[in-house]
């Protein structure tokens, strides 16, 4: 993974002192609440309903064991002993005292971490495939580009005060695990005729109030032009994006107003003028950053097909886990393990300090000391030897991190909602829990097959409800908490946005509604047909009828 240069370290240390001085000025009454709000937001610090919340950046979701241990310690010292994995591959802690925040940032800086631009109207943490660098369907490793963009977007002189937050996602594999179609910018990296990386750009995707799939505005950009092309897009957005209404301020609204063709022309005209400027990436810089992502010293192993087959037979729980939570690795004899943070009864994404330390230990014992966080709010161990899988399974099970539900209904994506978030219309965590406890039969879940259920507590869509096969959105109905259900969303390569089933439901009704939806699917599906495909074939009507059947 990327190692800080002296430049990076000095930068981050100075930044801590800068924030310390801002905090002191605020506490001394020299800054107003409004002024300090903008400054603390650029450091990931929110004042929430119950207490401040600090969002710590985990650039493109990659952590070292040392960094994860530091996070565990921070959760213990400054929070109530747990943290929350967010859908932007970051870590949030919920109870820090404002006065402690500069010290927390200083602790983070010691392990090459920060909280810069994890909130506010600026370029946020860049996200990518949680299997980057190890996925067996990878075309180009996206991590060096993510790092290049992380550096470029950190306190950019011109683009840190945008109309609205700005999210970039990058994918370099055949399947899209980074939801690139629903980001402000989605980048696909693919090999050109002689293997050189080429970049395709989607712009104006997004969730929230006006969900949209990104429009393709450039194909095959060569690597050296990455930053100047981004500069052109961001300049057009910074100058023309709406600032009069925060619900119309995302780039998707601008792209729609200008039309994708109009937007592309404007970007191209701007790019003509900045192309080949000094921000063009020199080969030496690309080489420096790529060198940080050289493959680990893997052993030459064989796949452990027989061993695993025997273990599957002997241990049905291990068998289930292997089927759902273990993905194929580029290298023979290795595997990628997803540690689910979603057993029933725990808010999705919540992990304790003890669990974090255990995961850090396993990453060293069973890999190269590296951990990932997925936007589905799980931990990933990217380099586990197949022969160690069963041992790891047992250890993870003891820590409550071996729920075999990755890709299944109960692997709910859920935002913090009304329990923590002051913007919420409704709570989301209790809904996730009610669904997880209603559908806790493994055979039933497995029979249902791949199913994404996503929950957001309001239109801001932090829980990505639009792209859940089943999406649930908290709405406010005359002061009461209600839930709107949508079907058919999808975050993969053939991305689509969910359609609303009909009038919303009370919280108590939600599990029944989900059950009715699943019944329609189970009755209508062809042999082996997944939920999403079945929905696409039969449409929303049969579901609608069933769900509202006896609502006289």
């Amino acid at each position: 993974m990327y190692q800080y240069s002296n430049f990076d370290q000095r930068f981050i240390d100075e930044r801590v002192e800068q924030f310390r001085s801002q905090t002191e000025r605020y506490l001394a009454g020299e800054l107003t609440d409004d002024q300090f709000q903008q400054l603390r937001l650029r450091n990931g610090l929110y004042i929430q309903r119950l207490a401040p919340m600090l969002r710590i950046a985990v650039p493109y979701g990659i952590l070292s064991a040392t960094q994860l241990r530091a996070l565990a310690r921070i959760c213990r010292d400054y929070d109530k002993g747990y943290g929350h994995l967010s859908t932007r591959q970051n870590v949030q802690i919920n109870w820090p005292e404002l006065i402690d925040v500069p010290d927390i940032l200083a602790d983070l800086a010691k392990v090459q971490m920060h909280a810069i631009q994890t909130s506010g109207s600026c370029i946020r943490n860049i996200t990518t495939d949680q299997f980057a660098g190890v996925a067996d369907d990878e075309l180009i490793d996206p991590r060096p580009w993510c790092e290049v963009m992380r550096q470029w977007s950190t306190f950019h002189p011109e683009f840190d005060w945008l109309p609205r937050k700005f999210k970039i996602a990058v994918n370099g594999a055949e399947s899209d695990r980074a939801a690139t179609h629903v980001h402000d910018i989605g980048i696909h990296i693919r090999p050109g005729p002689s293997g050189e990386p080429l970049f395709d750009f989607l712009v104006g995707g997004g969730l929230g109030r006006t969900p949209a799939i990104g429009a393709r505005i450039r194909d095959g950009l060569p690597e050296h032009h990455l930053l100047t092309y981004l500069e052109a897009i961001l300049r057009v957005y910074n100058r023309y994006g709406r600032r009069d209404n925060k619900y119309k301020a995302r780039i998707k609204i601008l792209v729609r107003a200008m039309t994708p063709e109009g937007f592309r022309e404007k970007v191209d005209a701007e790019w003509e003028r900045v192309k080949d400027s000094p921000s063009t990436l020199p080969q030496a810089e690309l080489d420096r950053i790529k060198a940080c992502f050289e493959p680990h010293p893997y052993a030459s192993l064989e796949d452990e097909t027989d061993l695993l087959a025997a273990a599957r037979l002997a241990n049905p729980a291990f068998n289930n886990w292997l089927s759902n939570n273990v993905a194929p690795h580029k290298r023979p004899g290795y595997a990628i393990v997803t540690l689910s943070t979603k057993p029933t009864g725990v808010p999705p994404g919540d992990v304790t300090d003890i669990q974090m330390e255990a995961v850090a230990d396993w990453s060293e014992r069973f890999g190269f000391g590296e951990v990932r966080i997925s936007h589905e709010q799980n931990f990933i161990l990217p380099d586990v030897r197949q022969r160690d899988l069963e041992t790891l399974f047992r250890l993870a099970d003891e820590q409550g991190l071996a729920q075999a539900n990755v890709g299944l209904l109960t692997n709910v994506i859920c935002c913090p909602g009304g329990d923590y978030c002051s913007l919420a219309n409704a709570k989301s965590i209790p809904v996730a829990e009610a669904i997880q406890s209603r559908f806790d039969d493994y055979d039933y879940l497995h029979d249902l097959g791949p199913l994404d259920l996503n929950i957001s507590g309001c239109m801001n869509a932090c829980g990505h409800h639009h792209v859940g096969h089943i999406g649930i959105l908290g709405v406010d109905k005359r002061g009461a908490e209600f839930y709107q259900v949508s079907l058919g969303g999808n975050q993969a390569l053939d991305a689509s946005l969910g359609k609303i089933v009909g009038p919303s439901f009370s919280r108590a009704e939600v599990p029944d509604v989900i059950e009715k939806i699943l019944d329609v699917y189970l009755k209508s599906r062809f042999e082996g047909e997944e939920f999403l495909h079945c929905y696409r074939r039969i449409g929303i009507e049969p579901f609608r009828e069933q769900v509202y059947a006896d609502a006289g």
């Binding site: 020299e30 100058r239 000094p278």
Partner: protein, 153 residues
């Protein structure tokens, strides 16, 4: 009392902003009024001005004052950066409106050299905020060469 920061020092403001014409030496006037009497006058650009379209004519102004209508409205940053680096403006580039300390650091990097601050205390905080970070990742008006193209990087 507004306080002017010019070239990192608190300075006497020898310009007066007027919201209508006629423009005259010593006055900073809105673009339309300035066009009628540009000689010796400063020009006030609103944050939705098409810089590339007007750059040619405003380059002669001794002062270009860009308005920041709201705290956290970053349009003026792009305008300043383009006037300096694309169009080579050499005169005083001043920021006024909702200009708060800490944002002045970004303005400075985008080529502004004068800031109208709300008070002496803000003016001092603005000066202190500039240069607190010894370097940055990107090219800017102040540092046109990004770190990865410098030999010492």
């Amino acid at each position: 009392m507004p306080t002017l920061v010019r070239d990192l020092r608190i300075a006497e403001d020898d310009w007066r902003l007027v919201d209508e014409g006629p423009a005259a030496p010593g006055l900073i006037a809105p673009l339309d009024a300035w066009r009628e009497n540009p000689d010796g006058a400063g020009v006030w650009l609103r944050s939705d001005t098409e810089v590339d379209a007007v750059a040619e004519e405003v380059l002669a102004a001794p002062v270009i004052a860009i308005e920041f209508p709201a705290f956290a409205d970053g349009r003026g940053l792009s305008m300043g950066a383009l006037l300096r680096s694309r169009h080579g403006y050499q005169g005083e580039l001043r920021a006024f409106g909702e200009v708060v300390p800490d944002l002045t650091e970004y303005m400075h990097r985008c080529g502004f050299n004068a800031f109208v601050m709300a008070s002496d205390r803000d003016a001092e905080a603005a000066i202190a905020s500039i240069g607190r970070m010894s370097d940055h990742y990107q090219a800017s008006v102040r540092e046109p060469v990004p770190p990865f193209r410098r030999s010492t990087a």
